[in-house]
């Protein structure tokens, strides 16, 4: 295995890249900062000191989240990047056997992630000085982290083996990661009040890396056997994914030839299509008109080449959102999970914001990089399309996508308003936060696309920025006793979940000042900054080069 040329090349190129160095620096920087920040002033050596256990919890969760964030960056593009560079077929033309190629890809994806996990050992060693962790616990924490690295690396590789391009592979991998990480917590969120569901809740959480980590560090919260269940699950899932990847690589047929496509001329056939969803809304095969003079050409092109030209996925996603929000609301409102308005509002908000955080950055992350990679930027530079038209066109289409997704979540908001009529001002305040978050995620994608050299890097950067704002800033919740109210407020004001939950629910973050207004202003300010930087960079790219 050590002489596998694919493995050697992949590991070398991954670790030589400046991105790997930056990610490693960021990874260690974040962990070291957490340790320094949370180091108890008194420096008490005690196995039971709360400060010590809090530090361990934060570091363990932070390390896990970083691994989850990094897995797609290294694994999800392993195969798609080869196909995009037209080197995939070259591999099979060599004397390498298919299983050597698969093994090389598999192990290189995992090795890089495991190296990152090992890098954190010195940081965790500091926790020993606090008496925060026993050797057994440390071993369990690292096993959970390593198993998660392997499983999520394989997940990324599995997606890469079926995805058409790296951008899609990254987005789908992030979505699946969320499903694996947060999905098992949904029963707890919804059914916590139901006594009959207690066992089911615990068993479900055992399949989440966060649940496994909690069972090691907080045995009072999570049954201590959960992390063993998680390791078994990781092993089984990894075996299944390895088999899937091998099958895909070995037996993947020739790529589907792109259909030439023809425009339907027959009136009867056109009429029939018009009766079927969604073609009465827009039907690419009956489109005849040129782009109107008043319409931004970039906006029109984006719609035709991506959104409505391949409109099935956007409609399906919106339909899925609609179905899911309907199910959630029926389940909650129908007294299946408990009639608390707070719960309903929390579910709607978390679902809404979670959707935005997961999907919206990817809508603009390839805005500029894809044009460069496909060789179209040179052609656009020859046209009279300026940077403003370029950006507004890309942003406009992304906003249209988002509107479709938000439409799918409307049932939840109707339920909120129905349950308590006088909540309209609060709903509007919450929507201000949602709107600001949408703009933040979109402009983060544009910003990343303007600066990054390639789309996968831009996508990873966009997600990193968005996750930093939406998830990492929730870490103070794990260290409630360690931080002053002022410091907690300063961090949580950056978080959209905290701001929106405070305004729409009762009893949440009541000890803090009003967050949503400051959050909205800060979020819009940062969004404006992202947009300005993206504009300036794009203007530079479109100018004659020196």
């Amino acid at each position: 295995m050590l002489s596998n040329p694919v493995l050697l090349r992949e590991v070398k190129s991954a670790l030589r890249s400046p991105l790997a160095l930056a990610l490693a620096a960021l990874y260690l920087g974040v962990l070291a900062t957490l340790v320094w920040w949370m180091w108890p002033q008194e420096g008490i050596y005690s196995a039971t000191a709360r400060a010590s256990r809090s530090l361990l919890l934060v570091c363990g969760v932070a390390q896990l989240l970083l691994v989850i964030l990094y897995a797609p960056a290294f694994a999800a593009t392993a195969i798609t990047a080869e196909k995009e560079r037209n080197t995939y077929d070259l591999l099979f033309a060599t004397l390498l056997r298919p299983r050597d190629i698969v093994a090389g890809k598999l192990f290189s994806s995992i090795v890089v992630l495991l190296l990152f996990v090992l890098l954190s050992l010195p940081v965790f060693a500091a926790c020993f000085f606090l008496g925060a962790v026993s050797v057994r616990e440390a071993a369990a924490i690292y096993m959970v982290t390593a198993a998660s690295s392997v499983m999520f690396g394989l997940l990324g590789l599995s997606v890469s083996s079926v995805a058409r391009n790296s951008h899609l592979a990254l987005v789908v991998t992030y979505l699946l990661l969320l499903l694996f990480t947060a999905g098992p917590w949904v029963p707890w969120f919804l059914l916590e009040q139901q006594p009959w569901a207690a066992k089911f809740i615990h068993e479900a959480r055992a399949f989440s890396p966060l649940g496994a980590m909690a069972s090691v560090i907080l045995p009072a919260f999570e049954p201590s056997g959960a992390w063993r269940t998680y390791l078994i699950f990781c092993g089984a899932a990894s075996v299944v994914m390895v088999a899937f990847i091998i099958g895909r690589v070995h037996w993947a047929g020739p790529r589907d030839a792109r259909r030439h496509g023809a425009t339907i001329q027959d009136p009867a056939e056109l009429a029939q299509r018009r009766m079927s969803f969604p073609f009465y809304l827009v039907d690419p095969q009956r489109r005849k008109g040129c782009i109107p003079d008043w319409l931004n050409p970039m906006f029109a092109k984006e719609l035709r080449s991506r959104a409505f030209g391949g409109g099935r996925w956007i409609f399906r996603l919106a339909a899925a959102c609609f179905g899911l929000s309907m199910l959630l609301m029926i389940g909650v409102v129908g007294n299946l999970v408990g009639p608390t308005p707070n719960l309903i509002r929390s579910v709607a908000l978390v679902f809404q914001l979670g959707l935005i955080v997961l999907i919206v950055p990817s809508l603009t992350a390839g805005a500029i990089t894809q044009e460069r990679e496909r060789g179209n930027l040179e052609l656009l530079r020859m046209s009279r399309l300026g940077p403003l038209s370029f950006l507004t066109g890309k942003l406009g289409v992304a906003l249209l996508f988002v509107m479709f997704l938000l439409l799918g979540t409307l049932p939840g908001w109707f339920a909120i308003y129905y349950l308590e009529i006088n909540t309209m001002p609060e709903i509007l305040d919450a929507w201000a936060v949602i709107g600001a978050t949408i703009l933040f995620a979109l402009t983060a994608g544009l910003f990343s696309s303007a600066l990054a050299p390639r789309t996968p890097v831009a996508t990873a950067l966009a997600y990193a920025i968005t996750f930093l704002a939406a998830i990492v800033t929730l870490l103070p919740l794990l260290t409630a006793d360690q931080l002053s109210v002022r410091l907690r407020e300063m961090i949580l004001v950056l978080n959209p979940f905290a701001s929106a939950l405070q305004v729409l629910t009762r009893g949440v973050f009541d000890d803090l000042g009003i967050l949503w207004q400051r959050h909205a202003v800060m979020s819009l300010g940062v969004s404006a900054l992202f947009l300005i930087i993206a504009f300036l960079r794009l203007r530079w790219l479109l100018l004659p080069q020196k």
């Binding site: 030439h260 496909r374 179209n376």
Partner: protein
Amino acid sequence: MIVTEALTKSYGDVLALDDLSLDIGEGEIFGYIGPTGAGKSTTIRILSGLLRPTSGSARVADVDVVRHPQEAKRVVGYMPDIFGVYHGMRVWEYLDFFGAAYRMPRAVRRARIDEVLHITGTDEMRDYFVDSLSRGMQQRVGIARALIHDPKVLFLDEPTSGLDPRARIEMRQLLKHLKELGKTVLVSSHILPELASVCDRIGILEQSRLLLCDRMEAVLRQVELRRLIEIEVLDDPAGAGAALAAQFPAPKLVVTETVGRMLRLSFAGEDAEIAGLLAFLIQQGIGVLWYREVPMDLEHIYMKITTQAKAGKRRSDDAE
């Protein structure tokens, strides 16, 4: 129509283009020849307003492309050697987008799309997805895109690269058609025979310097290439050869090869003297089955010129 004066481009210590002066007339097809890395694409990108030169000037259709690159875009159509297409877009939609990006009014655009599809012979592919086309067809669509805003000048960078022989022939025919439409075309290539049949003039670029720029016939005379003549005689080829050699002593005429009844001659003379060769043979009573001049191809010209240039450079280096 295209005028450059002392155009130079350097990237740090690397000189990509050295003191290029060109004057290409309206309606001309100009072949820009050179090996990879000679500076062809650099020249084209400067003339298209995409790259700033280090020094010198460039005007295209009376527009200073250095000072007014935006104005240059109106009069220039550019097809790079490698360009992308958008997924999920039909050919006409692809052209429509670029027409709109050039701010062409919709009414004008509609007719123009039909026109450029017809010019490039891609009418039948109107509704095909661009990314499903073969490379040759994509090249044609690329030319259609470069023509969409009806530019006066076209810059085609390696338009035949990667094409099969039939597609190359069709591309040459398209270039001739563009000339008939009154377009001025600068086409670059490192595949020499293709340009020989379509270009009015050629420019040979080697290591960032323009070695030669003239019509084919003038280039021939300039490089003092000898003309190759093939003659098939009825009988006694050796005798015929000896007679020719006696009448036109070396180095004027050299019999290079005798194969069966065919003689191959290397001759340094004008057209009238070539006619005189045939007249001489007939006077001598030598039966001639056929008589022809073998056309000198561009490859020979190119090799001759670049070899001379390298020899000249070596001499000047040695002198220093």
